[in-house]
Symmetry: C2
């Protein structure tokens, strides 16, 4: 949707012609959280010579001779550390929506394209968000508690019809959230880097620098933005104070977009009424953290996007792009290394 500088998204370097014939000539290293490899690994092995890595040491060993790096652990810090060992790397694919851990200077400054898993998690995340909205409206967490206490306690509850949802981050995930919540009867507006008019999802999309003007009008604020220098610690005490006291805050983006201590304080003081959090500054969240014990907080373990079968789906998506790469075609889901995320709808337009 946005125009990128020509240098921002490097064209794919066509692989040597003989690699199109002999699959074993393509070397793919899979960087995961452990040495198991992802589900569907056999299907990658059928297409390429595969090495596994799971930490800095194993990655340093695997990188020499690697053409393509598939990063399945979105939390990894190993690539930056092992980077000097990448002697012929031509493409990095992140099997995740967020690529924040890959935006280190050496990779950003290189002409190696980075692609991501845009689209894969959108629907499940949207369902998670609508579910959280309905849990707040219907006081569902207290239903669970009253059930545990065997207490029959009738309450009147809120409707979501016509309620204002502000989606901060109007990219692929944010649009799917807006689309589903609009279908369920909510009024949906968005926040993006720059303002744009109404479309079939958003009543209006405001520019990020106008956020504080629009926060007070939202019944629900959902963070669906990537973690970048511009969004890190964006939601602090000032943002929460700008929200309505009855409003709920939902974060399915990245934990570090929030100043967690400020969020805890806002929930305790009544600056906001509740929060649903799938992501945290530190993951797993330590057991002693105040958020665990808060009655007005819904928590989950960074799983909003992870539908049953997601790992197989990610392997399929990588293999689709690998086929393009081998054919010398333009890769889809290319990340703008300048902005730290992939602009929307690349696959559809490709």
């Amino acid at each position: 949707m946005r125009r990128e500088r020509a240098t921002d998204m490097p064209a794919n370097r066509r692989p040597p012609a003989d690699q199109n014939v002999d699959s074993s000539a393509v070397r793919v290293t899979v960087l995961g959280a452990d040495d198991n490899g992802p589900p569907g690994l056999d299907r990658i092995r059928a297409q390429a010579d595969v090495a596994l890595a799971w930490d800095e040491a194993s990655l340093r060993k695997a990188l020499p001779g690697t053409d393509v790096l598939l990063v399945t652990d979105f939390r990894t810090e190993s690539l930056e550390a092992a980077w000097p060992a990448a002697d012929r790397l031509q493409w990095v694919h992140a099997a995740s929506a967020g690529v924040d851990q890959l935006m280190f200077d050496a990779l950003v400054d290189s002409d190696i394209p980075v692609t991501n898993a845009q689209g894969t998690f959108d629907r499940n995340i949207a369902e998670y968000v609508l579910g959280a909205v309905l849990m707040f409206a219907k006081d569902s967490k207290n239903n669970v508690r009253y059930q545990q206490d065997r207490q029959w306690v009738h309450r009147d509850t809120e409707t979501i019809l016509g309620k204002q949802l502000l989606v901060v981050g109007a990219g692929s995930i944010g649009r799917e959230i807006g689309s589903l919540c609009r279908a369920a009867g909510m009024q949906v507006s968005g926040i993006a880097r720059s303002a744009r008019g109404a479309d079939e999802v958003f009543d209006v999309v405001h520019a990020a620098d106008q956020l504080d003007q629009h926060l007070p009008h939202a019944d629900y604020v959902v963070v669906a933005a990537p973690l970048t220098e511009a969004t890190e610690h964006w939601f602090d005490a000032q943002r929460f104070a700008a929200m309505a006291p009855h409003a709920r805050f939902i974060n399915i983006g990245r934990g570090a977009i929030v100043v967690t201590d400020d969020l805890v304080a806002a929930l305790q003081s009544g600056d906001i009424a509740g929060a649903a959090l799938d992501v945290f500054e530190t993951e797993p969240l330590p057991a002693h953290h105040a958020l665990w014990g808060m009655a007005n907080v819904l928590m989950s373990a960074h799983m909003a996007g992870d539908f049953i079968g997601w790992q197989e789906a990610l392997t399929d998506q990588f293999l689709d792009n690998l086929a393009r790469w081998r054919a010398g075609e333009v890769l889809f889901n290319q990340v703008s290394k300048r902005h730290g995320y992939a602009p929307g709808n690349q696959k559809a337009n490709a």
Copy 2:
């Protein structure tokens, strides 16, 4: 939608002309659960001479001379007991969707029209059902438990996109449930007294006597039927055995449509995977009941329809119908006393 016998829905008896002028000449008795009267009582008092009743004794005292009975307690058994004292009753309005407690022989056999609160609760109930579906799909109850235990436990979760929802009872409430769940991406079919074709909500509506053929294909089964002789204890061991082992059962109709012991057994044996229950054979459900302690059950206190402001909305609805009655017009939301519920869309057609 269905054709009724001419005698099934009595035409309104036009009140004496002088009652159209002098509001105090209309006597309205309000039968509630206590002696407080409903919110908005003053607005009824502005239109009529009002008496309050809350049990058989107070109702016996109030009924003589009463023209219109407004029943705000859907659980009341007082009207049947006090019925002989109704010496000039012309209309009974139930401020509830269910009228099962009013379908006793003396009232059914009379030509006194019964109206109900059809439409008022539809949207909130539909939101409750979609919320329950999403809580099952996203394993939200376990998120609450893990949070209580301060445990970070990642799981993959289900999507609702394309899942089959079978709405048992395709009336006003069932249609709103189907409409909302279809908008959220589910496949929706219905069960009604007689079969009918696809429309904008239902892929198909099957006849009630075909229920067992269609239960195995549903991922979610929602009971939105009225309690009548035909539906009492309809969902028994045989119905639950016909459902898929992964399916969830949601009841927002009436508890007595279910054989509760059979439901508990089906949940324990794995005949079905879970249940969301807002209504019970005995309400409040006793503290010792097995359902309270079941991990795969979501419970609430007969509150699915009760949005904030519902009592005022019910008073408004009664006053709308009272104005019609005083003008000698046909009442809306007339209950078919033969079937025990109000056919859909009467107000829109009136």
